[in-house]
């Protein structure tokens, strides 16, 4: 796979300065990745399944409050805490895309990975939610993504099916993957273009340039997890 090696490290930059907290990324992600809805009761209890969520924090006292939004998904750690703790190698590092993937068929549901994830990015199938989809609605399911059964863990894959599709298309046309050709669902849906996705190993790609911005930071940097997702400080810190 030498020709695919050059399209090395996929990464993401999220510009919090332009994020409006509209949750379009959450919806798009759910539709793209067949993420089931868990129902009112379970979601209310804290079992809502999202691969990406918009964390919302308030600053100040009412009525002078300002909201802070931060979309958080699996940070695709270079040194992922979830990987060594799985007893059956269900959460593994992909050599090719340098991202962290979940093998649903191998997962036995110890949920240790989710406990050890400092970003709480993982969702568990507590019940057979995907079997509860009423009949006409099952046509919305994306055929490119596995429908998970109960008892397995799942999480953001950087839309690995889209990465594969883009790589295959480029390979068929005998060229390298163009910058911006592969777009995960969240980035595609973002109305303010706050989510930038691309190849971090290419220094000229849009995502690489954005990741070198002086406003850059990564989540919980002190843990040394080497996340592939970079955030750009917002909230007017740098005049935004």
């Amino acid at each position: 796979m030498a020709e695919e090696k050059q399209t090395g490290r996929w990464g993401m930059v999220i510009d919090l300065d332009v994020c409006t907290g509209c949750n379009a990324c959450v919806t798009a992600c759910a539709m793209e990745n067949n993420i089931p809805w868990t129902g009112e009761e379970d979601a209310g209890y804290g079992r809502g399944m999202h691969w990406i969520r918009v964390q919302r924090y308030w600053e100040g006292e009412y009525p002078d409050i300002s909201p802070h939004y931060q979309p958080v998904m699996c940070q695709q750690c270079g040194r992922a805490p979830c990987e060594p703790v799985c007893p059956v190698f269900a959460t593994v590092h992909s050599e090719e895309q340098q991202i962290n993937l979940q093998v649903y068929n191998r997962c036995i549901g110890t949920r240790y990975c989710a406990n050890n994830c400092p970003y709480i990015a993982r969702s568990f199938n507590w019940f057979d939610y995907s079997q509860q989809i009423p009949t006409p609605m099952n046509y919305y399911l994306n055929p490119n993504v596995t429908v998970r059964r109960r008892g397995v863990m799942e999480k953001c894959t950087f839309c690995v099916q889209r990465i594969y599709e883009g790589q295959e298309r480029a390979k068929a046309e005998g060229r390298a993957v163009r910058d911006g050709e592969i777009v995960p669902a969240c980035a595609q849906a973002c109305p303010t273009d706050a989510i930038i996705f691309g190849d971090l190993s290419d220094p000229d790609s849009r995502v690489s340039k954005a990741a070198r911005n002086q406003r850059r930071y990564t989540l919980l940097e002190e843990l040394g997890t080497e996340p592939k997702v970079t955030y750009l400080k917002g909230e007017g810190t740098y005049g935004g």
Partner: protein
């Protein structure tokens, strides 16, 4: 030796009291060998309608609460439990750690006290070893119960398979699996070895199905000098060998937490802290069971005396202090570290919605033992000891509850904070409690609850000697 037992006692009541206490602990009122055998045999075959009623009730509870509820959960989904994001581990893991802790009792009382020749251990080593085996049987169910897909649990076992995959030996869960199976195996052998002469004793005094079973289990024991020599050697080897196994088991259980990145879990002191907690909880459970056995099993008041509860009560006080020391050490250093996420969790423990659990833990594990167990009269009153030891075990359960769900509930991102409410976990936990009691009750009518030969050995070996003006209990060298 006897000197060990003496050093544990408080010399405030004068020499005569002390001597009387030792006389009781070492059972200086020997009865003829045949009478001892008869007493143990009678305690084993004697059943009342009330006994069978309790057994039937427990069997129903096990069927409904353990197998019924678990089966329903397998058919429906682990979501029947109260676990949620971010509290992915709940009461299942709490109860798992609790039972593994209980299982430390047998090894501690039997192996460590045997190695240190604490002579008062003799009449109740068997009772403690049985707790190890049944505690492990109850505890080892939980890693299965809590799995999302229990039907593929064997993927954790290293076996040749079509996927060409080993389990991930970097995962503490695999260490857990190996440690628990090792401990279950070795503790069962360790229970069995000292049982052989007693089984042979039972074989010679029974008829019918009991005779057939005991005959098979006694492995043709005749009691020759060579057999005794081999048995003593085997027991000594196992007593020494099982101690590191015991330490490894709860250390590895603690590593499930300590090797993770989770604030408060990630603590270097968790290994010894868990072991001390396990021994505190295990020895408490031994006292609980001894009090119950004494009241319900025939002739047990001869074998288990108030002085034994007294000696164990002193041990409990020491271990309660040791637990408090480790708890304080862990807490202080974590808090002093000043990491914001850790402080938030610790603050949540003592002031969150479940703070009563944390405070009850302090009261049951520290305040109550420290206020009561120093008192000789309290240590010698069985029903008070029953209450104290039950409370200590409740406190230890709360300790694990604090460590598992209450810590997970308050992780680094405030956006994901959430509280956990157990649901079906409670029913299944009651089910395993019933399983433990049921197994123990059935075993008490099948396995000689008192190691007769060990008691007799002690009675023959000890005597009071006059050395100068002092009267000293001594032990002749048997082992």
């Amino acid at each position: 030796m006897a000197v060990e037992a003496k050093s544990l006692s408080t010399p405030i009541h004068g020499v005569d009291d002390e001597e009387a206490e030792l006389r009781e602990q070492l059972m200086f009122d020997p009865r003829p060998r045949e009478e001892l055998n008869r007493m143990v045999m009678e305690s084993m075959v004697h059943t009342t309608p009330r006994y069978w009623a309790v057994v039937a009730f427990l069997a129903v509870v096990v069927l409904v609460c353990l197998f019924g509820a678990w089966g329903y959960m397998i058919a429906t989904g682990i979501g029947l439990a109260g676990v949620r994001k971010p509290v992915y581990w709940g009461v299942f893991i709490v109860t798992f750690v609790f039972w593994i802790g209980i299982s430390h009792a047998g090894t501690f009382v039997s192996a460590i006290l045997r190695v240190f020749k604490a002579e008062f251990r003799r009449p109740f080593t068997r009772a403690a070893e049985l707790m190890t085996t049944f505690g492990l049987a109850a505890g080892a169910l939980y890693p299965l119960i809590h799995l999302g897909r229990v039907w593929v649990f064997y993927w954790m076992i290293p076996y040749p398979n079509a996927r060409w995959l080993w389990p991930n030996f970097r995962s503490p869960l695999v260490w857990d699996f190996l440690a628990i199976t090792t401990y279950l195996l070795s503790s069962t052998i360790y229970l069995y070895l000292p049982l052989i002469p007693d089984l042979a004793m039972a074989r010679d005094r029974t008829k019918g199905w009991r005779h057939a079973v005991y005959k098979a289990l006694a492995l043709g024991w005749r009691g020759t000098e060579a057999e005794w020599a081999r048995l003593r050697k085997a027991i000594t080897i196992f007593a020494f060998a099982i101690i590191p196994v015991m330490f490894s088991v709860h250390t590895i259980v603690s590593w499930d937490f300590a090797v993770s990145q989770t604030p408060v879990w990630n603590s270097t002191i968790f290994g010894p802290y868990f072991i001390v907690g396990a021994i505190l909880s295990g020895v408490s459970a031994v006292v609980t069971i001894l009090v119950i056995l004494r009241a319900t099993l025939k002739h047990m008041d001869y074998f288990i005396r108030k002085e034994h509860l007294d000696a164990l009560g002193k041990l409990l006080l020491v271990f309660s202090m040791a637990w408090a020391y480790f708890f304080f050490n862990d807490y202080l250093v974590s808090w002093y570290g000043g990491y914001e996420a850790v402080r938030k969790v610790l603050f949540f423990h003592s002031s969150g919605p479940d703070a009563w659990i944390w405070w009850s833990m302090i009261v049951f594990n520290v305040v109550i033992p420290w206020l009561t167990l120093w008192n000789r009269r309290i240590r010698r009153t069985p029903w008070v000891m029953l209450i104290i030891t039950l409370l200590i075990n409740v406190g230890m359960y709360f300790e694990r509850y604090t460590i598992v769900p209450m810590t997970l509930a308050h992780q680094r991102f405030p956006f994901d904070w959430g509280t956990y409410v157990p649901r079906i976990e409670i029913i299944i936990s009651i089910g395993t409690l019933a399983l433990f009691i049921l197994l123990y009750m059935l075993a008490s009518r099948f396995i000689p609850m008192v190691p007769v030969w060990e008691v007799r050995e002690g009675q023959e070996a000890h005597m009071i000697r006059q050395i100068g003006k002092a009267r000293v209990p001594t032990v002749s060298e048997l082992e």
